[in-house]
Symmetry: C2
Subunit: 203 residues, 2 copies
Amino acid sequence: MGRRRTVSAGEPLIWEDDDSLLVANVIEGVLKLTTSTADGREQIVGVAYPSDFIGRPFGQTSAASVVALTDARVCVFARNDFDRFAREHPELEHKLLERTLAELDRTRAWMMLLGRKSAPEKIATFLLDMSERLADNGCMTHIGPARQFTLPFSRQQVADLLGLTIETVSRQFTKLKSDGVVALPGRRDVEILDRAALQALAG
Amino acid sequence: MGRRRTVSAGEPLIWEDDDSLLVANVIEGVLKLTTSTADGREQIVGVAYPSDFIGRPFGQTSAASVVALTDARVCVFARNDFDRFAREHPELEHKLLERTLAELDRTRAWMMLLGRKSAPEKIATFLLDMSERLADNGCMTHIGPARQFTLPFSRQQVADLLGLTIETVSRQFTKLKSDGVVALPGRRDVEILDRAALQALAG
DNA sequence: GGTCCGGTTTGATTTCGGTCAAGGATCGCC
DNA sequence: GGCGATCCTTGACCGAAATCAAACCGGACC
């Protein structure tokens, strides 16, 4: 019933305010959910990792665009097929409800960051969050947050996630590096040298 | 199975990070959902109106505090009773899923406001949103957004909702008044004089 | 090796909104 | 009506982050 497809990095899958025609499951890769203003400002309102659900079931339009950050593989369904199927399978609806409630919790925690945290706090919180999200996505080789990881985001995308400008993000990264809190071996690579310091900064 | 209770203005119903012991339906009144930092900064992450659902089913802890903004009547359920009941009644779970998805959409739209909008844009967006939310909550006497309404929020609470300080909120209200965009007949009363201007300001 | 070219960093300057500090209004209560 | 507490407004000033602008880096490609 679902159809597999690939989405290459930068390619959109769903457009904001479009009719909600499809929903999908992420198999591999990372995608961003964004909303934009008329004058082009962008805010990333969610990030979808493997096994995450994307799209808007039971609704006429999608509130956010979905664009692949890395090459991704997804399993897409026609929305009305999915809706019908879901209503006939309470177990599926229950699973979807649990995921949606968890996503709402995460989204609300992010509102705190957007509304009330300073730039250094935002960056520290972001790095700790990434360190947990990107931890051992393979298997149970090691538990706990990752000490070293590769961001699926460019600097501009980090800015769009945190409600900052690219320049501020860059300056804060540089500051953390020169303070010895993190190492930045590559454009998108982060190594956490002093987790306690990051936690203190995160507020 | 549910038990009715009243919550008076300012009284908490659920505490952040507490065990999620109860869920509830709002019958009458308005409540705020908030998260706070250790040093006392607060962000309102949601507002519950009559017929809205509050609490965190299928989860161990609640991510937000719930406090009444006005005197309120709610119908509370023990969370594990509710969870069991819901799993046995797919229609209820479906309804809850629809509401949760709608709430997630609204929350994501608010992230755009928190991360990317200026103070004037935030205030204009807020007033238009209130004008829709508080419209004809009685019956179908008149459709469309309300021209005049009473906010369920103090200035501080508006600030906590928009990620601003109380002083900035106050200044922006004063500006709108002196520009003839709104009239402010009482502390919490708003009358929209020029909706088009507000929409233009909202961005 | 050179040379684009997008993404990133760094610097100078501005500005928006925060902070600090007084005043004023409004409401409940005696 | 008078009084006090709380909430709100206003003003002066400051600072964090945005803006503007320029240099820098690291790949891809020749």
